[in-house]
């Protein structure tokens, strides 16, 4: 099973390989985004000597890591799922000897592999231009990566939910934008969560999105206590399970009740 999922992932990665130029353009786009944020914070630092409780180097590192990790949290397969629903490909995919969820998880792995390559390239290029804060010890680094990996099922099941919405609407394009915006706001891609108003911080404490970006980056920066990390890991596992059931129930319900016109 794992073997066939990896094979699917590799196939998806190869699709990206067809257009090599995409790789350079994606990387370039990400760097442009990060430059704006960094210059704005730099300007504030030179004026007030304060960047929201972080040192300037930490803030710059924060945004560079955000840009490195964000493709991991934002990219995915829901467009493919909606597409397969729309043109009837789903009929064939449901008959596959591999379950629909596992099939797309495999495809998702390919997406994530590409996201990793782009993220890594972005990180390397940015490290030429700015002085980065590196994790204080190896454990921090490993935990950071570990929390990132625990985020994979969470983002995947959210995508399955959004993709399944394709049964009900003609295009999930609006839903996609909504999904991305929610993740951007609540995961700390825009700015560190601690800079938001208190009520917002309280909400984001309970939602799973914070752990996609904000938490791993802060583990990297060494701002999170060890025992806190333990709770974070438990929270992520629980959220993964909850979202799994929601996605599964929603999907099964949709498949049973909706008939698709030919395809």
């Amino acid at each position: 099973m794992v073997k066939s999922m990896i094979a699917l992932g590799r196939m998806q990665l190869k699709k990206y390989n067809i257009y090599k130029s995409n790789f350079y353009l994606f990387t370039f786009n990400r760097i442009v985004e990060v430059i704006v944020y960094i210059f704005v914070w730099q300007a504030i630092y030179y004026q007030t000597g304060n960047t929201g409780g972080y040192t300037l180097a930490e803030m710059i590192t924060y945004y560079i890591l955000v840009i490195t990790f964000s493709s991991f949290a934002l990219w995915g397969v829901n467009e493919d799922i909606a597409h397969s629903i729309r043109n009837g490909q789903i009929n064939r995919e449901l008959l596959n000897p591999i379950s629909y969820f596992k099939y797309y998880f495999g495809v998702n792995l390919g997406e994530l592999a590409f996201a990793t390559v782009v993220g890594f390239a972005t990180f390397i290029i940015c490290s030429f231009f700015w002085e980065l804060v590196l994790p204080a010890n190896l454990l921090d680094f490993i935990l950071c990566i570990f929390v990132m990996i625990l985020g994979v099922p969470i983002t995947f099941f959210i995508q399955m939910i959004v993709g399944t919405a394709g049964f009900y609407t003609n295009s999930i394009w609006g839903m996609q934008i909504l999904r991305k915006a929610v993740i951007q706001i609540f995961s700390g891609i825009i700015a560190p969560i601690t800079l938001f108003p208190l009520w917002f911080q309280e909400i984001s404490k309970w939602l799973p999105f914070k752990e996609l970006i904000y938490t791993p980056v802060n583990i990297w920066l060494g701002n999170i206590e060890m025992n806190e990390i333990f709770f974070i890991i438990i929270k992520q596992i629980i959220w993964g399970i909850i979202l799994y059931f929601i996605a599964k129930i929603f999907f099964n319900h949709a498949v049973k009740n909706i008939t698709i016109n030919g395809g």
Binding site: Y19, S21, N22, L25, F26, F28, N29, V32, E33, I35, V36, Y37, F39, V40, W41, Q42, A43, I44, Q47, T48, N50, T51, G52, T169, N170, S171, W173, G174, I177, L178, A181, Q184, I185, I190, A191, L195, F196
Partner: protein, 264 residues
């Protein structure tokens, strides 16, 4: 001269048809507008968060930055509505041979293509921008005189033309790739730089957005003028737009001569 005027009038009639097409897909239209609102919210939240930590950025206060954002949106809305089709030029026209049909028409192919734009989402952009601009002009207690309104309309159109010219230049990459245009996206992305006071950037980026890709003339210099920072660079905008379009059409025609059909 007559030829240019003819082309423009044909373009305007294309535009009218496109506007009517929007009304066919009401639901898509609403979804588009709502999602655009959300996207705007994301950018505004960043500005909001930043100003929790500082009184001003390079002399610009919160309301002034939001005004800049609003004025930017107006120009982007117009340009998005008029030039959006250029993103599709690869998959929609080149890839399946539609472009060959357009070449046979008696109009310049560029007019046929940009005339086909009907990107209603950009209209959402436009109206959000308009709302923000009006609200911020009142908040900043800048008197809304007829002269100011005329200036905003005029320079927004000029700004849209500048963005349009840049998109058009980079759309020629589709002549060789036959696919949707990430190249345009990348250059368009550079626009983000011009949404903040350019004094915060280093010299390289300053030159990039004023000389190489003159995005700063779209909304930044005009907004400076509206706020009352004495700045007369905005009067250069029309000339920049004209020069850019002359270059664009020359480059496009050269690319057109090199075009080879996919044969489908």
């Amino acid at each position: 001269m007559k030829k240019i005027l003819d082309n423009i009038s044909i373009y305007l009639s294309f535009l009218k048809i496109a506007l009517k097409e929007i009304l066919i897909y009401r639901l898509d239209c609403i979804v588009g507008i709502v999602s655009q609102l959300i996207v705007q919210a994301v950018s505004l939240i960043f500005i909001f968060i930043v100003f929790q930590n500082a009184e001003n950025i390079a002399g610009w206060n919160f309301k002034q930055i939001i005004l800049l954002y609003g004025v930017t949106r107006i120009a982007i809305g117009i340009s998005g509505y008029c030039f959006d089709e250029l993103y599709e030029i690869g998959p929609k026209y080149m890839y399946n041979g539609e472009f060959d049909k357009i070449l046979l028409r008696p109009v310049h192919p560029l007019i046929s293509i940009i005339g086909g734009s009907s990107e209603f989402v950009s209209l959402a952009d436009f109206f959000i921008g308009l709302g923000i601009t009006i609200y911020m002009l009142i908040e900043l207690s800048i008197p809304i005189t007829i002269l100011l309104v005329v200036k905003i309309i005029f320079f927004s159109i000029i700004g849209a033309l500048i963005i349009g010219a840049i998109i058009t230049i980079f759309s020629i990459s589709s002549f060789w790739t036959y696919k949707s245009n990430e190249v345009i996206w990348s250059f368009y992305n550079i626009y983000t730089f011009a949404e903040y006071p350019i004094d915060i950037y280093n010299t390289f980026i300053k030159i990039l957005i004023t000389v190489i890709l003159p995005f700063a003339f779209v909304a930044y210099y005009p907004t400076m003028h509206y706020i009352g920072f004495n700045n007369y660079l905005l009067y250069l905008s029309p000339f920049i737009a004209i020069i850019l379009w002359i270059i664009t059409i020359k480059v496009w025609n050269i690319a057109l001569n090199k075009y080879r059909s996919t044969g489908t």
